[in-house]
Symmetry: C2
Subunit: 204 residues, 2 copies
Amino acid sequence: MTERGLLIVLSGPSGVGKGTVRKAIFESDDNDFQYSISMTTRQMRPGEVDGVDYFFRSKEEFEELIAKGEMLEYAEYVGNYYGTPLSYVEETLAQGKDVFLEIEVQGAKQVKEKVPEGVYIFLTPPDLEELRSRIVGRGTDSIEVIDERMRVAKEEIEMMALYDYAIVNDEVPKAVKRIKEIIASEHFRVERVINKYRKMIEEL
Amino acid sequence: MTERGLLIVLSGPSGVGKGTVRKAIFESDDNDFQYSISMTTRQMRPGEVDGVDYFFRSKEEFEELIAKGEMLEYAEYVGNYYGTPLSYVEETLAQGKDVFLEIEVQGAKQVKEKVPEGVYIFLTPPDLEELRSRIVGRGTDSIEVIDERMRVAKEEIEMMALYDYAIVNDEVPKAVKRIKEIIASEHFRVERVINKYRKMIEEL
């Protein structure tokens, strides 16, 4: 029997650089995991390829998948759906390959409910200064705007509690190295390997 | 406030090569953790230094530490005590440094009860993978011998359940690399860093 792959979820606040880190991971060597291609109802742009950049589907098709429970996660932005089809993820994990998702925090929350045994990595902004300037801005914003940003920042940190790891995105190559080490280490977690050993004994 | 260090415990069945792996880790570069020196009541051997190889103590002193609850773990072998004094470990962790213990499985069990938030790494023999041939042998052994091997193998696997990670000691450099990656990754676990972020926001 093939050992099931790991589901790895990379997320974090918008603007933190999730896409850049994900791209750097997939451009680097020694990746033994598959990137899960998202599905969308938005228009295909010039140069994009169906099944490569996204699975491009009609709104009706997408809503049918939602209704059938066949989306691992999804969200609506400016009138279009974006999401992760369950079938591809399931098939890849069953083949013993790890699947890597880079998604928004709301999507990650949905995935966590369905696949609690996944590896959840939260990408955080570099430092307090970054956080402060993100919140305070150039000092020309109203107190209401600043308060709202503060509320969002607090919310983001509390979102972190749902994750297994928090990685600072100070330098992309460092973040990539850390994420790869986490994935390697997670394969050695006792709860993931002990049944393999138990089975070996039972099958004697 | 200094962030507390991690307690890392390396253990595994006797004969698995824990000492060799620990030595290779401490001889390699980039170690940012302290090796915890054990305490013993056995005679100092020529060339050994108190406080370097072991803390050498009398049986009375050792028993007093046990009575006071000042041993993190201890065991008796051939009339002598061996153990880990709590004070050194506590002080080092409080300074924000990681502490590395390489101990027997019985000791690791004691440590786990006192420091459940430590990182517990179980080193498995490479031939655990070849369990079948190891247990069944050449097919010429008595059923009693096979049963006994089976019992020992099951016990070893169930010991594993107390640990966070299981690393196969197939090649020492590989085991060293895996252990170092685990330690690096554990520093990014959300439960270890989230309070730092909460504090950052409070202090804005």
